[in-house]
Amino acid sequence: MATTDTGTEVPSAISAARPDDDAPPGIGPYALAWRRLKRNRAALFFGGVFALIVVLCLLAPFYAKHVAHTGPNANHLTDQVRVGGKLKDVVTPGGIPIGPTWHGRFLLGADGNGRDVAVRLLYGGRNSLEIGVVATLITMLLATMIGLAAGFFRGLTDAILSRVLDLIWSFPVVILGVALGVALAVGGLNLGLFELKGNSLGVPAVIIGVVYIPYVAKPIRGQVLGLREREFVDAARVQGLGNVRIMIGEVLPNLASTIIVFIPLIIANAILLEAGLSYLGAGVQDPNPSWGTMISDGIRLIPSAIHLTFVPGFMLLFTVLGINVFGDGVRDALDPRAKVRIER
């Protein structure tokens, strides 16, 4: 019976039909995964969409300065802009903002404060992506440490850490996020070693990072429970290596695939949660833009300025879709069980 590259046995009939038969002999598991990923056109396409959005958001300062000629928080309530040869109010005396002009200034229209929607969209994307990535880093770092410690040491350590994870997990994510966001919005977060002001992007990043820890830590813990019984761990012990060196040197590398698979999924969820918290006023604080705050601000103007909610909504949709589909592709490329499903 043949074995997969991760050591799991699979039936010969299936292994005989593997799509990687043309792979060079001795190819490493990550190189193999990359080959598989390159063949997944949907994943590559949506990964490209996500990358494009990231690049656009990174170019926000350039767009603001050279194309829109305004910043993300600049109000233009009493300004006028030329559209089709006619001068139009950016915001009418009755408070209705202009719609998309489809040229440099106010490309996607203005919001209720006369701010350029396209500029805020890109800056908001920067904020949303920054929070998503930072939150993911926090989640992955802490979840890996906690999962590793809980699974490796077991006993009292596992009991305590698992109960802490259960406690966090028992709260609905959005409610916990809103509660923490509202509580920290005014006074910020002071942990002695570092301090975050109430309107800092770090506050929602830390909150989102913390609430997602159990979602990653528990699967990692489960995997570590199995890995610690493997012969290479025994061999390391026999050689006299300490627990920490065994965890970092032997167990952690075997978690790499799992960690890599989780990263895009957590980024997607973090961005979605950030948008939700910002929509509810517990995430990014005014006047900093984020897609969630833009949707929230646009709600009251839906009947007359629907672009204010649609535009950030679509950006959110394509960003999360892009990461999710790409993340699925990464998982399929790395996860041997997924490989078996594909082969059937």
């Binding site: 309530l77 009493t78 408070g95 404060n113 509202v182 309107n199 009947p303 007359s304």
Partner: protein, 559 residues
């Protein structure tokens, strides 16, 4: 009173009231009279759903200081005096409530003597006693009610009680046997009758706990009873079954029970009323601009704009940098575009730079010192003044409330400060916590949103916001912490003028307001027009829009 804070002041006597309120401005779409007055005719029964954009700060009558709180309290907790349940000028008149008649004023305007009506009972059946009045005032002072300076500044012995030097207020004497109540003042105050007509002076039984009873309000005397409180979500104001139109003449029994729900999203709030899923739109909110045309087209027969005697402004803390500097404050006044803020309010502001609004004695009629509020601002001048002050680049935190359009006002204002040369950032906090937060002196907020709706048609009501004697450690309302000797000396004389003689000092009030504008202690920007907007279940014309309390729930009746 602030938007969410309702301060109730005593109404001046008839003559001054007529003059003051008769000068209220009106727009082509406004309906100053709002139709209706309290009568015993019309249908009754059922429950009206009233939406509030912000929960009352408190439902405890001796603590509440928001319009939302007062709307419920003035019909549930009557004091010695209240206001007529009428529209416009007539609604500004004080009428006896638990007192049999108007007081006898002696001793040069410093002693008020009145007698309690006989046979009154609280909603729990307890008999009302004269000694409940001094207890109520003591409770309001200890709470502390945000307007307690009205009591401590004028009633003899109230300051000593407040500071713990006395166990009771020596200036109030109450005889339970005869029902006679005597109040001695430290100095004459022309608007004192308005003071004891505040809902916070609404009687509660002696012995009522001093702590915050918002979740389970104490019994009161009135046509309505507060009950079923779900904090920040809902509460009910139900008809008192023992109340009749004859219990207190001029305070009719209600026609419908009221179910109040908090709806912080004004879009949802307006849609619910438009679609008849709720009955009353919070008069303190504004219709979202996107719905305004729909409302006018589909519900024109149940919508009207009501002029209010109000001022919307940004306070400037004169005790901390950078706004302890005159040039910095004046610079801000030059920079703010009042037309822009009017647009944020859906066009429902009359741009202004004066503190005393149109319709109130003392409103200046001359040119604004910072340019025409209906024209573009002078940003160049603003930047020059800021540069001269040496405070360019100062960090400023701008405080604002979370709900629209106040959040938008604050965001706009922050942008203006940044354009001028400050380093400004916004701090938006939840509505219900906003005024208690910025009213805490420990915080020393530099600048932020504020507003004031008249409690009574007397400029002294507005000027308590500029009076150093009203500054208090918590629940402070003098957000700019103004401490100006000229203002103090003027107020000492002007506040003593009886309400029926306000005309004689109109010029002095006007000069004082012009002085205030020059000193730039605040940045006034607008006078509000508010919506009277109902579902088609209610008789729109019968309902009173009260000049102080907005929609008079006791006059709501089904069609």
């Amino acid at each position: 009173m602030q938007w969410t804070i309702k301060r109730i002041g005593a109404i001046a006597l008839t003559g001054a009231v007529t003059v003051a309120l008769g000068a209220c401005g009106s727009s082509s779409k406004s309906d100053d009279n709002g139709g209706g007055s309290a009568t015993s005719g019309g249908k009754s029964g059922g429950t009206a759903t009233v939406l509030m954009g912000t929960a009352p700060d408190y439902l405890d009558p001796q603590r509440a200081y928001t319009t939302q709180g007062a709307e419920a309290h003035w019909i549930s907790y009557l004091g010695l005096y209240t206001y007529a349940h009428k529209n416009g000028v007539e609604g500004g008149k004080v009428i006896p409530a638990l007192a049999e008649d108007f007081p006898k004023v002696t001793n040069g305007g410093k002693t008020y003597t009145m007698t309690l009506r006989k046979g009154l009972k609280y909603s729990d059946g307890t008999a009302v006693k004269a000694s409940d009045f001094p207890f109520t005032i003591e409770r309001a002072i200890k709470a502390p009610w945000g307007g307690k300076s009205f009591f401590t500044g004028y009633i003899k012995g109230a300051q000593a009680f407040d500071s713990g030097k006395a166990k009771s207020i020596s200036g109030i004497k109450a005889d339970d046997a005869t029902g006679e109540i005597t109040i001695d003042l430290v100095k004459p105050y022309g608007a004192f009758l308005n003071v004891i007509a505040f809902p916070s002076a609404g009687f509660v039984p002696t012995g009522t706990k001093m702590g915050n009873l918002s979740n389970n309000p104490p019994p009161g005397v009135g046509p309505y009873i507060l009950k079923d409180v779900v904090p920040n979500r809902s509460f009910k104001v139900v008809r008192n079954p023992d109340w009749t139109d004859q219990t207190v003449p001029g305070v009719p029994k209600g026609k419908m029970d009221i179910s109040v729900k908090i709806a912080s999203n004004t879009q949802t709030e307006a849609e619910q009323v438009l679609n008849n899923a709720a009955d009353v739109f919070d008069w303190g909110d504004q219709l979202p601009p996107s719905l305004a045309s729909q409302v006018t087209a589909k519900a024109g027969d149940r919508f009207a704009k009501q002029n209010t005697v109000s001022t919307y402004y940004f306070f400037l803390n004169t005790q901390t940098k950078p706004f302890n500097n005159l040039k910095a404050r004046q610079a801000v006044n030059y920079a703010v575009d009042r037309r822009a803020i009017a647009r944020l309010n859906g066009g429902n502001f009359k741009p202004t730079c004066w503190f005393l609004p149109e319709g109130l004695i003392g409103h200046p009629m001359g040119e604004c010192p910072y340019g025409d509020p209906n024209a573009a601002p002078d940003m160049a001048k603003a930047r020059q003044l800021l540069k001269e002050s040496g405070l360019a680049g100062s960090t400023v935190t701008v405080w604002g409330q979370n709900r629209s359009p106040r959040k938008e006002f604050t965001n706009y204002y922050t942008d203006v400060l940044n354009q001028m040369g400050f380093k400004a950032k916004t701090k938006i906090i939840a509505d219900a916590q906003y005024f208690p937060t910025i009213g805490n002196l420990k915080l020393q907020p530099q600048t932020g949103f504020a507003d004031w709706n008249q409690d009574f048609p007397n400029p002294s009501d507005f000027y308590l916001l500029m009076d150093k004697n009203t500054t208090q450690a918590t629940n402070n309302q003098n957000f700019s912490q103004v401490n100006d000797p000229h203002i103090q000396s003027e107020l000492a004389e002007l506040n003593a003028v009886p309400a029926d003689k306000l005309d004689t000092v109109a010029d002095r009030w006007q000069k004082l307001d012009e002085y205030l504008a020059q000193k730039a202690y605040i940045v006034s920007y607008g006078q509000q027009q508010n919506p009277k907007f109902f579902s088609d279940k209610l008789n729109f014309d019968a309902a009173v829009f009260h000049p102080l309390y907005g929609n008079d729930w006791s006059t709501l009746e089904p069609k």
